[in-house]
């Protein structure tokens, strides 16, 4: 029973903290958020060089052969720094669908691809589809083609490749396509550092990576990994907002005292501290369960995502409140953490959706 990261993992954390604070301070993130691309493509090469793309990819495919626990450290730190770029969509979503596609993993580890996952269609938004899909995969020569439209695809314009949930002749399956072969339209997204878009496939060539037999289990793995990753990001973002709040109330004076001396202010900061610490514990537990393939992983990940998403939102809201007017302006960084926290909170449904899964595990359906 040991609830601490290893020394190596802590070194990775320091590395990641330096990376985001040196390259992606609040001002830089704000600048990038206003650009058309929304991110700094050169950061991908830097992160590849640091070995981050292949962290959990086996050595034979050019990765480092570590697991999700190492990636967990990065998710928390990239959340803290609000890193804008397709790391979440690549590593938490698409990469989890590629264990049966060694060539894809090789490309990813070498920095040759950036990925995302497309699962949502008009009217259906759940990550685990109950039935059918209007996006169709058809056999064509020795390969496949995809036709259909996917919505709310994270970081669609930053990705080079996309894993698609589609209906094939044998039932649901997963295919990978090149983004350049499809049409991509980005939508206005509240969180400008993690945008959503539509991808339209029209006879787009694709390669199958999971068939009807294992699509469900693959998507379950994607879902729990995404939940855990988002919980960690939420902890990072919520922690950053909490730190801004704590620093501000120590120095801002009103009525002759720092406002942190008023309980109506200080107790809000305490509640953020408590919320984020509990969220952190849940997120680490979920990360470990996912990394180890523990049987509690789906429940732990759902629990962590629901709690951490809400805790991060609340931490940002309290931070805005104790900052007063300045925290409500566009020029202050707080709203960026807030929008990321809300992005996380809304992913695959707000907290009550994940709590419904927890309830099913506890009480039956």
């Amino acid at each position: 029973m040991d609830f601490a990261f290893s020394e190596e993992q802590e070194m990775l954390r320091s590395q990641a903290r330096s990376f985001v604070t040196d390259r992606f301070g609040a001002e830089r993130v704000a600048q990038l958020a206003e650009t058309e691309a929304g991110w700094d493509e050169s950061s991908w090469d830097a992160m590849t060089e640091l070995g981050w793309m292949g962290l959990s990819i086996p050595e034979e495919q050019g990765g480092a052969g570590f697991g999700f626990l190492e990636e967990a450290v990065l998710f928390e730190e990239l959340g803290y720094g609000l890193y804008p770029g397709p790391y979440f969509s690549t590593v938490a979503l698409a990469r989890r669908a590629l264990d049966g596609a060694p060539e894809q993993l090789k490309r990813l580890a070498s920095g040759g691809s950036r990925l995302t996952l497309a699962w949502i269609e008009g009217g259906r938004a759940k990550l685990l589809p109950e039935t059918g899909m209007s996006t169709q995969a058809q056999e064509s020569g020795d390969g496949w083609t995809l036709t259909g439209e996917k919505h709310l695809v994270p970081d669609a314009s930053a990705a080079t490749d996309v894993v698609v949930v589609a209906a094939g002749p044998e039932g649901l399956g997963l295919w990978v396509a090149r983004c350049e072969d499809a049409k991509i339209e980005m939508d206005p997204t509240m969180d400008r550092t993690r945008r959503l878009g539509r991808i339209i496939f029209d006879g787009t060539p694709a390669e199958q990576v999971a068939g009807a037999g294992d699509v469900r289990s693959t998507l379950e793995r994607v879902q729990m990994t995404a939940y855990a990753a988002l919980a960690l990001e939420a902890v990072g973002a919520g922690q950053a907002a909490f730190e801004l709040a704590a620093d501000h109330v120590k120095t801002r004076e009103q009525f002759g005292k720092p406002i942190g001396a008023y309980q109506a202010v200080s107790h809000q900061v305490v509640d953020s501290y408590i919320g984020i610490e509990l969220a952190r514990s849940l997120a680490y537990w979920a990360a470990w369960c996912v990394a180890e393939g523990d049987e509690r992983a789906p429940m732990a990940a759902a629990a962590a995502k629901s709690f951490a998403g809400e805790a991060a939102v609340a931490s940002c809201e309290r931070a805005i409140q104790v900052h007063g007017g300045i925290g409500f302006t566009y020029e202050h960084p707080l709203h960026r953490y807030y929008k990321r926290a809300q992005w996380i909170d809304s992913f695959d449904g707000f907290g009550s959706v994940q709590r419904a899964s927890v309830a099913t595990a506890l009480l039956g359906s």
Binding site: P188, L196, G325, V353
Partner: protein
């Protein structure tokens, strides 16, 4: 006790309802649940129309263009505006804050000059109270005015000023005696925003849109007759303004909340969330809260009608409204599920709720933070000891 309209209230209501049906801007209702919000030109035109029909300043004295109607007519007016989802008058600050303060403390000349123009929308007003260094602690303000013969010369910076970019006039608090105690060296000025040396810069809020402004004053000359009340006695005058900001305005805000509540019901129907028991419980909770808030306002109003002083319950309005509006707009996003992040054209209703939700976070900060308002209720309404 009677919740029905008295005969003259009923006739006022029916006259107003017909008028609204005939006069609302074309396509307004269809437009309203979208992000398209506030357009100064449309708003000015609408304000004028309302004024000419006699619906602005219902409770103001007749000699200043008002209708001297009982306060209950104002309540009827707000209810019908909600029912019609009608746009608001442009002169929120003038009608809710500057006007009532001028009525209380102004000279005849000031009243004659400004009040009718406020009602007609010909004068748009803004407020110059807060400064970067003085938020909740308003009396620590540092914008100074120095007497120069028959003028004050103003230098300093104000912030969080809605409408300043289109305003003609400003109610401005300045320090005129730097040696006096904090609350005793302040003067309340009426400042022409078209004066030389006034510079307005928009401040973007979280959603990216401007609404508030900074105002910079550099050697702005304000004639001495534009002092409201006495020199160095501006703090008391400012208290009148704040009382109206948190009281009367809170009343109007409750009407806005009712509009939003109705829109949430529509949203739940459109998305199918109306079948989710968790959403149903929260919608019902909001509806119940809203009735509680509305009827609490009415109770305070009855006390005002009967005694001339609003009931202490009125202090609740702005505080509770702001927290309720935050919960309601968040509920709207939750109803949208994963689509909650889609803003603008691609969002449901053009990102109406995305804007409203972000905007709502300012509600507990502007016009008295929730922390300050709870202190005020604790000390002034409940008689608890001071906490500062």
């Amino acid at each position: 006790m009677d919740f029905r309209d008295a005969p003259e209230e009923a006739s006022f209501r029916s006259e107003l309802r017909s008028w609204l049906e005939e006069n609302l801007p074309d396509g307004w209702r269809e437009l309203s649940p979208s992000r398209t919000r506030w357009n100064a030109d449309v708003s000015r035109e609408w304000s004028k129309k309302l004024y000419e029909a006699g619906y602005v300043g219902l409770t103001w004295p007749k000699e200043y263009g008002g209708r001297a109607a009982p306060y209950t007519h104002q309540a009827v007016f707000l209810e019908e505006m909600v029912r019609a989802e009608a746009p608001e008058h442009i002169g929120v600050i003038g009608l809710g804050m500057a006007g009532p303060t001028i009525i209380s403390h102004g000279t005849d000349e000031q009243k004659n000059r400004h009040l009718a123009n406020i009602l007609s929308g010909d004068e748009v007003w803004c407020q110059g109270f807060s400064e970067p260094g003085s938020g909740s602690d308003l009396a620590s303000l540092r914008t100074k005015a120095v007497r120069d013969n028959d003028h004050f010369v103003v230098n300093g910076q104000k912030v969080w000023s809605s409408f300043a970019h289109i305003a003609d006039w400003c109610i401005l608090l300045v320090r005129t005696d730097p040696d006096a105690k904090k609350h005793q060296g302040i003067t309340y000025l009426l400042v022409d925003m078209h004066s030389d040396g006034v510079d307005v810069r928009p401040l973007n809020q979280m959603s990216g849109e401007p609404e508030f402004n900074e105002i910079f004053f550099s050697d702005v000359r304000v004639p001495i007759e534009n002092v409201l009340g006495e020199v160095n006695a501006g703090w008391g005058v400012a208290m009148t303004t704040l009382l109206h900001e948190r009281g009367t305005l809170g009343f109007a805000l409750t009407s806005r909340l009712e509009v939003a509540m109705n829109k949430v019901v529509t949203l739940a129907r459109e998305t199918g969330a109306e079948r989710d028991p968790l959403i149903r419980d929260r919608i019902a909770r909001h509806w119940v809260e809203l009735q509680g808030l509305k009827f609490t306002n009415y109770r305070a109003l009855t006390t005002l009608v009967k005694t001339g002083v609003p009931g202490p319950e009125g202090s609740i309005a702005k505080l509770f409204w702001s927290e309720s509006n935050q919960r309601l707009t968040k509920l709207a996003l939750e109803i949208m599920g994963p689509r909650a992040q889609l803003d603008g054209d691609e969002g449901i209703w053009d990102g109406y709720w995305q804007y409203q939700q972000l905007r709502s976070r300012g509600n507990t900060i502007e016009a008295g933070t929730s922390e300050v308002l709870r202190n005020i209720i604790a000390e002034r309404v409940l008689g608890l000891p001071r906490s500062r």
